[in-house]
Symmetry: C2
Subunit: 364 residues, 2 copies
């Protein structure tokens, strides 16, 4: 296990009607002026918007609104948010929505509170964010400890109305976060077993939320799994891989596809491409501990585990191939070069430009 | 899943030589005067004492010492600590040692930093503490969010010198913490799978640390398992049972035995006593997911799982019966009555005074 430092300053309020703590929590921070950041209006249809506004009004807190944040948030909207903050002496940002809204809101070092409406990115408890530069069509991850929210409100009922396809994409995102940390060196007994725990939870609860979108318990389990999947715990003392995420960011930057859909297509092909005699023990452990595979031979168990992974994404109703979502091979070389521009990719197994093109090709 | 609030303010520095952050970390808090609390001197023999003192001296921080804290810390030493804090304008407490030292130090609301030297109690990241009133011979748990350490330094090499029997007792304590939270209602998919992850980690690494006390990786895995076992994560949205702990506290208050030894003796008998048709599914899940039991019938799988649990404690070299550690049945009624004096016991299955006496009797 590598040495590590753990700092989790985000306070979590989890469960039905926890939005009721918002006003009091902000009052405790002595907040006077809030920037309310949200997406395309689903929080108005769900009634969440009204509940936030009334909490703020009751506590005499000024509200400035920044609506319309995209699923792949743009750098230009960051500039607009900064301007609104200056003009209105904003001393706290409330981000209500999915990870894209929370990521967008986190880019200024003004304290942030999040009200999560979709499980997936883990933005509610981490300091990472991903922004798209719409001029260069690049999608770039950034992050800082200081970007972690002060508090996040997680009410599973807000995810009841998330569509089947978006729910599935969020689930693919959660599983991918776990894979990026699980398939990494050095092994770490507890962190790796906890990764398996998150995967088992997701696999058990995914069919339930897809069949019964208003099943509170299953929505709660998926939501909390999304948080634990990316709040540092699974990566402590390990060097996460993150290759699949970096390769996928090229796709969603160039084609504006849903991040989780790209991950679901690429992940099994990344697995097949990197699998070798040296690392097959790890895929075998995944297969045995998560999928109950009983095969004794590591390489055979590993291949079965990858099959199970493909089958899981298929069971979510997600596309299986890039060609299904209108992507052809015309930009594979360009995207692979772009992915490698800023840093080497793949710490579990380093990937060359040819490797990346090959993974895109296997995904076609 | 019940609604929950999660707040983990303790910063963790984990790994070899992390003690080097101490001076700088205290300087960041603008600390001027420290109370250094420790036990019977093992930190002097290991060299940890010298490293702490030199860090404090380099940063011109005044040091007052409170040595000699017992494994079952007494209320009288709390009074002494409070007096020292007043006399020396102490603005930060450093607790260096096992859980008993950290628990002792936590009783004043002066910020606390911990340097852990034994895995077991989880005191390095929680706000609970247990103190013994030596006049009434009562051992009482208490706790507050405000008692959580500001930071804790966890260097597994400090546990290399912990004796085989103390290591085993710490491991029993860790597993018991998990059982108290796992065997509880309502079920919570991720929390319960994470409990299984901690148990698997402990079971895999326990034989290694007992055979090779200086195996860094195994000591690190046990140490981190001890932290995760009792830092709130496993109990979120659940009503922990804690019956075995409360029954054991009577034993260690009356007989001054090692807490983990008492737990190892009582736990399998608590399991056998509370097992019934309604809850056997939970013991069966434990057996299948942690021990790989393949038995399909829940009650049979549950009984096998309890057998595995006894066998595990036996493999640690811990006593199996109260009679082996000099305890007879003369105070069973008195201890059972005392255990129930302050509150009902057992939220997984409520225990009457007769139930408690029966569990003691089964353990004789």
């Amino acid at each position: 296990m590598n040495n590590f430092r753990l700092n989790m300053p985000t306070e979590i309020f989890f469960g039905k009607d926890q939005i009721e703590v918002l006003g009091k929590r902000l009052k405790n921070e002595n907040v006077k002026s809030v920037l309310l950041v949200y997406g395309k209006g689903s929080i108005k249809r769900s009634g969440l918007y009204d509940r936030i506004i009334s909490q703020l009004a009751e506590n005499l807190i000024k509200v400035t609104e920044l609506p319309g944040i995209d699923p792949n948030p743009r750098i230009s909207s960051v500039a607009k948010g900064a301007e609104l903050c200056r003009e209105n002496n904003v001393d706290f940002i409330i981000a209500a929505g999915a990870g894209s809204v929370i990521d967008k809101a986190g880019d200024k070092i003004i304290p942030l509170g999040a009200v999560l409406t979709m499980a997936g990115t883990g933005s509610e408890m981490n300091g990472g964010c991903v922004l798209t530069n719409e001029k260069t069509m690049e999608k770039l991850p950034t992050g800082s400890f200081r970007l972690k929210p002060k508090f996040s409100i997680l009410d599973p009922t807000y995810t009841f109305s998330v569509s089947k396809s978006q729910t599935a994409a969020g689930i693919a995102d959660i599983t991918s976060h776990v894979f990026e940390q699980y398939f990494s060196y050095p092994d770490a007994s507890l962190q790796d077993h906890m990764s398996e725990a998150v995967l088992k939870t997701v696999i058990e609860n995914a069919p339930v939320v897809l069949e019964e979108p208003e099943n509170y318990e299953a929505r709660a389990n998926i939501m909390w799994a999304g948080t634990i999947a990316l709040n540092d715990l699974l990566e402590l003392g390990k060097d996460g891989d993150w290759a699949t995420h970096l390769i996928e960011h090229e796709l969603s930057a160039k084609y504006d596809i849903t991040h989780g859909v790209g991950l679901a297509i690429l992940t099994p092909n990344w697995m097949k491409h990197v699998l070798d005699e040296k690392n097959c023990y790890k895929f075998a452990a995944y297969g045995r501990n998560v999928w109950g595979i009983t095969e004794k031979d590591d390489m055979k168990a590993a291949l079965q585990a990858i099959e199970k992974t493909s089958g899981f994404f298929r069971s979510l109703g997600l596309p299986q191939k890039l060609s299904e979502i209108g992507i052809d091979d015309s930009k594979f070389e360009e995207m692979a070069a772009s992915a490698l521009k800023n840093c080497p990719i793949g710490r579990f197994k380093p990937l060359s430009q040819e490797d990346i093109v090959e993974i895109y090709r296997m995904s076609l």
